[in-house]
Point group: C2
Chain length 422, copies 2
Amino acid sequence: MYYETLSQNELAREFEEVKKQYEAFKSKGISLDMSRGKPGPEQLDISNDIFGAVTAEDIKSASGVDCRNYGGLDGIEELKPIFAEILGVDKSLVIVGGNSSLNMMFDTIAQAMTHGMGEKPWAAQGEIKFICPCPGYDRHFAICEHFGIKMINVACNENGPDMAHVEELVKDPTVKGMWCVPKYSNPQGIVYSDETVKRIAALKPAASDFRVFWDNAYAIHNLTEPDAKLLSIQKLCEENGNSNLVIQFTSTSKITFPGAGVAAQAAGPEDIVRLKKRMTVQTIGPDKLNQLRHARVFKTVDDVVAHMKKHAQILRPKFEIVLKNLEANLGGLGIAHWTKPNGGYFISLDLLPGFAKRTHALCKEAGLVMTGAGATYPYSKDPEDKNLRIAPSYPSVQELDMASKLLCISVKYAILEKLINQ
Amino acid sequence: MYYETLSQNELAREFEEVKKQYEAFKSKGISLDMSRGKPGPEQLDISNDIFGAVTAEDIKSASGVDCRNYGGLDGIEELKPIFAEILGVDKSLVIVGGNSSLNMMFDTIAQAMTHGMGEKPWAAQGEIKFICPCPGYDRHFAICEHFGIKMINVACNENGPDMAHVEELVKDPTVKGMWCVPKYSNPQGIVYSDETVKRIAALKPAASDFRVFWDNAYAIHNLTEPDAKLLSIQKLCEENGNSNLVIQFTSTSKITFPGAGVAAQAAGPEDIVRLKKRMTVQTIGPDKLNQLRHARVFKTVDDVVAHMKKHAQILRPKFEIVLKNLEANLGGLGIAHWTKPNGGYFISLDLLPGFAKRTHALCKEAGLVMTGAGATYPYSKDPEDKNLRIAPSYPSVQELDMASKLLCISVKYAILEKLINQ
C-alpha cells in the first residue's frame, strides 16, 4: 500500500488535502445516488414502442387467443422460443409470467418450503441451507432470510464461485440450493467460465431436492463487443443426468421497462410440471396483453439483441467515467481494487478490510447514496467489511463523474483518518 | 314433485318425449359452454379505452413517479381511494397489486402457512381448518386443498352462511379461516344480509390468527337497479375491536380485462404491515403502467360505477334468457330450484339429490359443457350431488337459449330415466 511508504507528517498532509477535497464536495450540497441497479430514463425511452404495440383492433396472440380475457397459464406461445433461446433450453421448459422474475424466484422457493421439490417440504426438514456465492445480490439473500434458510458464503472469483468449496458443501444433505447470477453477475459483473458451468451441471448433491437457482438477469446485457458466451446450463445438466438440477430465471426488466416487463423461468421436465401444478391453484394466468406488447416489438431474439445495443450505447459511457475516476484516483495505491465488467449493471469495489462501512458513511454525509455496506453478503454482513457495490446506470454521466470522484475521496479519507489516528 | 303424480305409463310417455327432445339436440352436433365465469367479447370491447390510456408522453403517476421504472410496492396512489371506497376501508389499508386477486389470496394464505398471522406459522400448528360456505368458489377450495387445510362445509342461504354454525365452529382454535364471497356470491348470486355481516364482524374466534377471506369479486357487479348494499365489514370489525379479522380482495378483472386488470387487497393495520413486509422480499413492485392505464380511465368510483352499467346491459339479457327457460321448462315441477341473482356471474341450480352428475354428463354428451358437478363444494364433493353452476356470461343470448333448454331437458331426462327404472 502506497500510504505505508509515507511518514506520519506526509500522511497528515495527505489527509489535510483529502479532507479539503471532501469538504469542498460536501459544501456543494449535492444529492447523488449510485445505489440502485435501475435503468435511467433515456434507457426507458428506447422501449417506448411498447406503448402502441397492442391496440383494440389487434388483441389476439399468434394462436388466436384474445389476450384481454382469462387463460393461458404459462404465457403466450410466441414469447416462449425467445426466452428459450435466451436461457438455452427447449421452449417446452419455459414459463412466461408476470412482470417480476424475483417474484418467480420467491414463489419457487415458497413452493419448495411448503410442498418440496420431489421430497418432503423443505420447511419440514429442519434446518436447511443455501450456498451463496458472494458478493452477490441482496434480494436473493433476503428470500433465504425470509424463509429461515441458513446461508453459507462461498467466494466468487473472476470465473464464478469457488467450485471446490461448492462440491464439498453439496455433500451435506441439508444443503438444498445455490444462488447463481452466471453472467455479468451482481455486483462483480463476472461471467461464469465454461469450467464453472460444467462443474455446476455435474454436481451430485447428497440432497435429491437440491436446486441451483440460476438467475440469468443479464443474459444479453453486454456493454462491449463481442458479448461473452455462457454455456447452456440446462443442456449440460441433461448430459449429466441432472435434468432437474437447475431452475433458471430472466426477465425483460432491463430490456424494456423495469416495472412493466415480462419475466420467465425455465426448469427441468419434472420441475416444470410441479411449478405449473402450483400455478393452476395460484393464478388464472399472467397479463397476456403485456406479453403480447413484447411479442409485437420483439419477433425474434435478434430483435432483442439489436435492442440491447442501444442500452449498451447509453450505459457504456456511464461505466467508463466511473472506471476512469477509480483508476485516476485509486489506481496504483494498493488500497482498493474493482471489477471492470463487460456487461450487467454493477461494478464491485473491494477496499482494504474494515473500510466499507466508514466509506459508505462518508459518502452519505456528503450527499452520495451508495448501496448499503454489507448488502452484497448474506445477512448484510460483509465478514471483512470491504465490499461496496457501484450502480452507475441511473445517474447522468456528469453526476457519475462527480459521484465517483467523491467516492474515491471518501475511500482515501476513511483510510487516512485511520492511519493518522493509529 | 310433479312426476310422482304420474303413473308408470305416463312416466314412460313423458320420458319418450324428453328423450326425443334430447336426441334432437344431440343430433345438431352443438358445442356450447356455460362453465366459465368469463366476460364475453362484447364486454371486453367496452374497456378498449385502456389501450390508449397511457402513452410515452404521459408515463408519470399523480405523485410524479415514472411508472415504467422500478418501485412503488403497494401500487400507485391514485388507485387507492377507488379500491378503498369499493371495499369500504381507509385507503391506508389498501394494497394495489398485479392482475390477479386470486394470486393475492394464494400468497396471503401461503404467507400464513410459512410465517403465520401473528402466531406460529399455520404449517407448524398441525391440522388446521377453514370454514367453507357452500356452494362456493372452486378456486378458494383448491387453495385450501393445495396447502392441506381441512375444509368444513357450512350451508349458505339467501342471507349468507349459516352464522349459528360459523359461530360454533370458530370456538375451535384449529379453525383458522373462512372464505366469503359476500356480494353476488359465486355461484348463488346472494348478498350477505346486514345481520350476517354484523355477526361475522363480531366473531370472537378461539384462534387469534383466524382470518376471514372476504373475496368481494363482484362488489359493484349488479345486473339490476338499484345495486344491493353490502355493509362495510372492516368498519364493523373495527367497532368490534376486530381490526385484523378480515382480509378483503377485489379486482377489475370483470370491470376491464380479466387477464389484464388490476387486483387489490385490504386488511387491518397489523396485517397490512405483515403483508407489505413479505412483499418487500417477494417483488420489486406491481406493473404500475397497467395501474396507470386504469387510473386514467377511472378517475373516481363513479366512473367505475358508470362503466358497470354497460356490463349490466350486456349481461342482463343473458341471465334473463336462462332464467326464462328454467322457469318455462322446470318451473312448478318440484324437481329443481335456482337462484335469481341481481348481480354477479352465476346462477346456482339445485336439483333433486343425486342428479347433478348425471345431468352434467347428459349435457356433455349432447355438446354442452357445464362447470363440473361437485366443483362448488370442497374437495369437489357435493354431498348431495345436487348443485350445478350456470355461467351465462360468455355465450351469446342465442347460444344461451339453446344451452339452457338443453340443460332443462337433461335435468328431466336424468330424473325420468331413474323413475322409469325403479
